[in-house]
Structure formats: structure tokens, C-alpha cells
């Protein structure tokens, strides 16, 4: 396996981990909350709100404008 293929597989594995964790969290009786619910709760903190909106703006600049 080439380094490039390994890195792409790594990104794909992380995406799969996010989806699997979210699906697991949606099962009844799970002690983990789904990602949207966790983000919504985190956004109640003003500091986290600034950080997350700053990260979102940076993502737009980095992928679409830089």
C-alpha cells in the first residue's frame, strides 16, 4: 500500500468512526448523545460558540478561498 493510499484510508476510517459513533449514540439506552445533540449543548457556552463559529469561518476560507 502506498503512503497516499494509506492516508486516504485513514481519512475514510475517521469518517466511518464518526458515522458509527453517531449511529451507536442514537440507539436507545446509549450513554452517548448523538453528535448534533452534543454540538447543540456545547454551543450553549459563549466561548465554545465563538470557537466553533471561528472554526467554521476558517473552514470556508481554507477550502474555498485560500
Amino acid at each position: 500500500m502506498t503512503p497516499r493510499a494509506a492516508i486516504i484510508a485513514g481519512f475514510a476510517a475517521i469518517l466511518a468512526l464518526v458515522i458509527a459513533t453517531d449511529r451507536f449514540a442514537r440507539r436507545t439506552g446509549s450513554g452517548v448523545r448523538p453528535l448534533p445533540a452534543t454540538l447543540t449543548a456545547a454551543l450553549r457556552s459563549p466561548v465554545v460558540r465563538v470557537l466553533i463559529f471561528g472554526f467554521w469561518l476558517w473552514l470556508g476560507w481554507h477550502f474555498l478561498a485560500r
Partner: protein, 145 residues
């Protein structure tokens, strides 16, 4: 006894949406927002990356949404436990560590970062339309929280 029919039965409300069914109003509002987002993405995607117009296209939507989102009162939400926070912070930390390790590694095509992998997609107009749609939709979702 005869009662004349009301000229306009809007329940005493005034304005353009007076008398409109709330569900219908919500559907119309959602359709208007969707149309605005699609129009923005189709227009912004004309700007090629690494240009001033592309920077302007990002800032013209990003700064107002950030301003509204940061100042807006947060939606009421159930607190999440330490376990949820730990799990999601762990996943985010893993993703950040992986991206950082690739970024700190050799700077060539054999060791692409996430943005290097996205570049071929974002160099095309349809790819940029999808990119702007995803980005603005995520921003609107965050603002609604």
C-alpha cells in the same frame, strides 16, 4: 340573526403573512432560505480559489452568519454527560492528530492533507457549488442552534 361576513378574517393580525397558516408560512420561509442558499452557492462558485473574489464570496456570507450566530441566544438544550463529551472530543482529537501528522510530514503528492485531496474537486465549478452548499448549510445549522 344576520351577521355580515368579515371582510378579511385574519384573526386581528396584520402584515403580509396575516392569516397565513403557520405551517404554510414555515414551508414558504424554508423554501426562501433554500433558494437563497442555492443562489449564493451558484454565484460564489464562479469565483476560483486563491482569488480576491473567492475571499469576498466567503466573507460576505461568513461574517454575517458568524456575527448572528455568536450574538444569538443559544437554543435550549439538554446538557450532555461527561461520557458524551469525552467520546466526541476523543474522535475530534483523533481526526485533528491524524490531519496534523500528515500536514507535518513530507509536503508532496504522496502525503496529501484533507485540503490537498479536496483540491481536484474544488477546482471544478460543480465541485465548488457542492462545497459552498455544504459550508453555508453547516453555518445556517449552527446559527439555528
Amino acid at each position: 340573526m344576520f351577521r355580515p361576513a368579515p371582510v378579511c378574517d385574519n384573526g386581528g393580525r396584520h402584515g403580509d403573512n396575516a392569516g397565513m397558516d403557520p405551517v404554510r408560512h414555515s414551508v414558504r420561509r424554508r423554501a426562501a432560505v433554500t433558494a437563497a442558499v442555492v443562489a449564493y452557492a451558484l454565484t460564489a462558485a464562479i469565483c476560483r480559489p486563491l482569488t480576491w473574489p473567492a475571499l469576498g464570496a466567503v466573507l460576505i456570507a461568513g461574517v454575517p452568519l458568524c456575527w448572528i450566530g455568536v450574538r444569538r441566544r443559544p437554543r435550549r438544550a439538554e446538557p450532555v454527560g461527561a461520557r458524551s463529551a469525552a467520546v466526541w472530543l476523543g474522535v475530534a482529537g483523533l481526526a485533528a492528530a491524524f490531519e496534523l501528522s500528515v500536514w507535518l510530514g513530507p509536503d508532496d503528492a504522496a502525503h496529501p492533507t484533507l485540503s490537498t485531496l479536496a483540491d481536484p474537486l474544488l477546482s471544478t465549478y460543480p465541485g465548488r457549488v457542492v462545497g459552498y452548499l455544504l459550508w453555508v448549510s453547516a453555518g445556517l445549522w449552527l446559527v439555528s442552534r
